[in-house]
Each structure stands twice: as structure tokens, then as C-alpha cells.
Symmetry: C2
Subunit: 243 residues, 2 copies
Amino acid sequence: MDHHTLERLVCKLRTRCRIDAVAEAALLALPFTVRTMPRGQYIVREGDIARRACVLLDGFAYRQKILDDGGRQIVALQVPGDAVDLQNTLLKVADHNVQALTAVVAAEIPRAAILDIAGKHPSVAHAFWLDTLVDGAIAFEWIANIGRRDARRRLAHLLCECAIRLQVSGGRDGETFTLPLTQEQLSDILGLTGVHINRTLRQLAAEGLIARDRQAIRILDDRALRNAGGFTPAYLHLDLLDD
Amino acid sequence: MDHHTLERLVCKLRTRCRIDAVAEAALLALPFTVRTMPRGQYIVREGDIARRACVLLDGFAYRQKILDDGGRQIVALQVPGDAVDLQNTLLKVADHNVQALTAVVAAEIPRAAILDIAGKHPSVAHAFWLDTLVDGAIAFEWIANIGRRDARRRLAHLLCECAIRLQVSGGRDGETFTLPLTQEQLSDILGLTGVHINRTLRQLAAEGLIARDRQAIRILDDRALRNAGGFTPAYLHLDLLDD
DNA sequence: CGTAACCTTGAGTAATGTCAAGACTGGTGG
DNA sequence: CCACCAGTCTTGACATTACTCAAGGTTACG
């Protein structure tokens, strides 16, 4: 995949709806500038006024909120192809931060160009809307995960989700993958503490559900892991093309 | 407000973006049937295939997930004017339930009509997209609330949010309002138990932040309550019209 | 007036957080 | 090539929040 075109965006949108040739051409013709960013860099800051939308061409990012007491919660993970601030493009002022999880290659598209293409191409507007809906569906699942599952089930659920999303976006086999997340970051996703994540990861490993080596995770027993996490992939809406 | 027209939908969309006369006419001309439903009735069931979208004309509803162990998590609240399953309209198969919180008057619009109007009127598509984005922004805030705040702050935050949303949707004064939620339901929103909600409500009352009488809540010290909940209304994006 | 749903309260328990120290790892400069 | 350093992981002991169970009180409504 060429990291210097918007092909990745088209590709992502295509996982969930049809993009005809005209719309594809229009998308690929969007004006953009490529930026590379190191791990940890802020892509969007809370309070920013949107002038541009950023599409991840390579690397991962996360959305994050800092609370008044300094606590941090990661509210979403973004994979290549994701438009990380369509939200902010329409909503004008960003209500959360977006930060690079790994080194990132991103395309910056002017806000006006996004609004323009969405206005002129209903199928593109449809695709963006759909993308937003799926992000919302994932957020709902996370609410349920954090609100109603204990640490072990929460973590199992997240691992299942990551396995699938990494597989879809990166073409990995899905059984073994590298989660570029520290245990601290995992805890900020799941509403737990780093210490507790550590213990829970080891517990899952001790049970034979996963194997770990640094940040590489291997799912040893997919069925059992899904079971442990109460995981059903319906909310990812990966089957929308089967119309 | 007449409960038998789609005026309420236009009204809701207008809180966040301009709807010109042509688009308004098209919206009001959408075909629909009115249904009334008693408290507790399912409006959408997980697994349903969307044939119609439902707009709340009067009454409240909530989105809810049932977990494999029987646990329940409420993932969103919907107020009059909300389209409760635009999500499912586009996503085809519902990944969660929507249930009437109070008695409800709703307008059912065929799926095809929604897709059609969004395709023909970019400003309507834009408004729907925006609506979805705001729902997503609220979901993100809930993730942060559940993941990183203790019971007292969680509840204070929710009360602040409800006060504002009820005020915007219903024209109440905002200081005193009736939350049509049982303590059990509050606990399912906040990822706690009913017993703990009970204790936390009384604690907030004992501190002089709120007064309670059945389900009526009066905010006695708005500043202190917002402070307790770390509440900032930015994520509700109520100021989008000030362009 | 009786009933079901809801609220309230107490006592004991389990899950998770806090604090603190030591071990490992990968990268950097000498 | 080695020594060091920062970041991360690991582990233990202890504290705390929130859960569970269970009983009794209250309210709304037929």
C-alpha cells in the first residue's frame, strides 16, 4: 500500500459500502498534504478549531480524554484508513484529543474539501456517515464492556476486537498480532489500572487463552477467549456489503 | 408541539445546523405512521433488520445492551426529536435494543424514504451525519465517565448532562426536572448497582448539591455539582449554530 | 386495601486500586 | 562493546470502593 495516496481511505470506506468509480475518483482527487508524526504526538487537541481532517495512511492513533483530576480515558482506537477527525471537521471545536499511538503517516485534507465532496457525491456522504455510525456502534460496545464486565472479561473482549480490527485493516492472520499498546494504555482503554491489567493478562495466559511476548499477543484459544469476553463481532458491522 | 407531525425532527436538527426551507419541506413531507407505545416497550430489538426509522415525537427512550451473563448496560438516552434508529437504518441489522423509557409517541419512516431524502438533499444528509456525530461524542463522554470517575462524580456528571439535555429538548428551566429513571436504570447507565446509586444520591443530597422528591431532581448548587462531576458541556456541541 | 414496583438500610464480601520496590528491555553515548 | 538510562513490566502488601444478599419500608395504582 502506497502511503502517499488516499487509496487507503477509499479502501476503508469500501469495507462497508460500495464506492462507485466517480466517487472514487473524486476521493482520490481530494487535495491533501502528507505528514509523518512520531509516536505520542498530538494529532488533534481538545479545543482545536477544525481546519482540516486527517486520514491515517499508516500507523495507529487513539482518541483520549483528560479528566479534571488528571485521569485519562482512551475512548477509541483508530487504524489505517480511518479519518481521525471527521468528527471535528463537522463539529468545529474538538471535544477530545487524538494522539499517535505509533509513528504515523497521515494525510491532511482541508475541511472545505471534505464538506464539498460530501455535498456533491451522495455516495461519499453516505460512506462518511456510515463510518461515523460504526465508530458510534463501537463506542456503545465499549460502554457496555467497561460498565458491566469485570477485568478479565473486559480484557478478553478488547483482545478479540483488536484481533479482528487489525486483521481487517492490516491483512494479518488474526491469530497473532502486535498490540502497540503498553499495559498502561490498555488500562486507560478499559478503565482499570496498569497493575491490574498486568495481573489480568497473566491470568489469561495462565488459563491458556493467550500467549504473550512483549507486546505480541497470540490467541491460543479463540473460542474460549470470545467466550470469556462475551464477544460477538456483530457491532463491528463488517458484513454490510452482503446486501 | 403537535405530536403528529415531523416538526419535532426538524426542530431537533435545527438545534445543530441550518435547515433551509426546501429541506424542511422535504422532511415534513416524509411519509410516516404514528405509533404510541407504553413504557418499557421495545422499539428496536437486537438482531432486527431495519425496514423503518423511528423518530421520537414525545417521550424518552434508551439504547441498551444485554450481556451474555444477563447484565444490562444502557448506552444512550434519547429525547424527543431524536431519530432512534438512523443507526440501524444504515447498518441494516441492529446491534442493540431500543426501549421506551416513558410512554412514547413515535413516527415510523420507511428506510427507503430516509435514504432517498439524504441522497437528494445534501443539507439533510449533513444534518443526519451531524446528529450521529453528536451521539458519538456523547458516547465518548460516557466512556470516560464510566471508565475513570468514581460513583459520586459519575452520578453528578450524568445529572448535569440530563439537566441540559432536558432543558434543550423540553424547554424546562433546567434547575428542577423529573428524571423518568428508576435507580436501577440509573445504575445501568453508570455501570453501578442500584444499591450504590441509592447511597450516592443520598450523599449528593446530604452535601446539599441536589434535592430529591421521588424522581424529581432539583439542582441546588449547579456550580458545585458540575465541579463534582468534572462536567463541561462542550461535548454536547450545542453551540454549532454560532458560525 | 392489596399488590407490585421501587426505595432504603445494614452487614459482610469481593474486586480493584494504591503504593512501593525491584527486574527487564531497548536505545544511546562514550 | 559496554554502561547507563528511561520506560515498561512484575510482584507483594495493604486500602478502598463498590457489590451482594437480605430484610423492611414506601409509593402508586387498580
